[in-house]
Symmetry: C2
Subunit: 296 residues, 2 copies
Amino acid sequence: MSPGPPRRPAVVIHAGAGERRPEIDERQAEYRTALLTTVDRARAVLEGGGSAVDAAQAAVMFMEDEVEFFNAGRGAALCSDGTVELSAALMRGSDRGAGAVAAIKRTRYPIAAARAILDRSPHVLLVGAAGDRFAAAAGAEQTDPSYFITERQRDRLVAEPARFERGTVGAVCLDEQGMLAAATSTGGMRGQLPGRVGDSPVIGAGTWADGRVAISCTGDGEAFVRAGAARLLALRVADGEPVDRAADGALAEVAALGGHGGLIALDAGGELAMPFHPGAMPRGVWRSGHEPAVWA
Amino acid sequence: MSPGPPRRPAVVIHAGAGERRPEIDERQAEYRTALLTTVDRARAVLEGGGSAVDAAQAAVMFMEDEVEFFNAGRGAALCSDGTVELSAALMRGSDRGAGAVAAIKRTRYPIAAARAILDRSPHVLLVGAAGDRFAAAAGAEQTDPSYFITERQRDRLVAEPARFERGTVGAVCLDEQGMLAAATSTGGMRGQLPGRVGDSPVIGAGTWADGRVAISCTGDGEAFVRAGAARLLALRVADGEPVDRAADGALAEVAALGGHGGLIALDAGGELAMPFHPGAMPRGVWRSGHEPAVWA
């Protein structure tokens, strides 16, 4: 087995698919800066020789912390009872190792809870207080549940309680070893029933990575679950389909079930796809040897 | 579009893959009776013109209630702290409607909680107390968490706390309308961390139904999740593979990730597969016009 040509590290991020929000149009420059900073967090890891897992986690942690534009972690959408419940997943392509949490309330960076499970547990998915406890035992920072609740999300829940706006972020990365990783983090849909779990922490629905492709989805979570969207995309890539065609096919299957949204996918050769429909999906890309590009 | 030839209703059930237990070998006749009764519960629904969803639910409810041989519902495996946490999923092939619960503690028939979500919620998966609350509001019988704990499982947890024995049951059915459904219910692995969720309630991992095939898996849950096992099998059937070959391929992918177990799969033409490796997987089949058959 020859090691093959050197791989080009690459990063793709998304900040959720959904309706275009007017306040974001008014703050394009700031939003672009936030997207560029996200891309740079992953890029810095990869340029330092770090792993795709570390890079994807770094990008998502920045978006979880950022409160103005990204609705994961702090600033996440509120459940119908005004609480925040957080879900995240991290998957490593090389061995398909995976860690995920759903409906946690205390871990400052939900993706760090997923990482703790990936690194330290034979389990893949821990839900509720168990996810926080496991993360805390692994050293992940804990906080009061109120930390995640912002005034803006409280106002939105009051103004439009039944408008199921999503807030999901994700990153897929390829490192110089040719390894892929995918990370997704979300507070779910505004007004969702507490305890509801969407596609983000469901391996094969909203998050997936194997030796050929890494995927993070966003949109109507239930339709992505019922489509098995990420697994479908990955199998078509395994069958030899180009990643952009496989991505379109997965979204078409979601649409056939009445769902909308978008996804990012990056293959081991550095080819990528970022389809979404309808509305907007803020996103960014960096490939080694190129300038980063973002779409707000 | 012609309606085609009349479909033959069919049922396949499993009672979990794992090591062959000596006490079951000593009670073969009783065990076979329990399996036959399970098959008959689904058969009665189908012979009465009922739906595949109703039939699969009926078979699983019998196994959840039965306490001597089937380790789902009452008699389920205990978590490391001696509690019982229950998960279940139900998926309807015709429209890929799905309902699932994970880590619930109070709903007497966990598959009835999944059914309530399938019938009455835009969500697919509810975890923890939210799953019980939703089921209760839909009229599903609630019970004290201690109801599910049996002396035998308590003894096993003390004797072999680190032996990750599984207890999962499942049913896949085809009704006379040609509709498919899949149902799975489990208490997880003995000694698991509370809050751990395996493959059973994860649509596309342990449970799946579409217009072509219905699937219920059992085994090393994390490997089934990382394989996207049920979604893989269904896609290969959609690609034209016979269901037995697709089933073997899915188990091979699980095995490549270090996992063992089994599954049942039934296609819209009434063809079925029941592979498992290694050990045993008690199972049963009924097809219209034939006598039921069981393997204890």
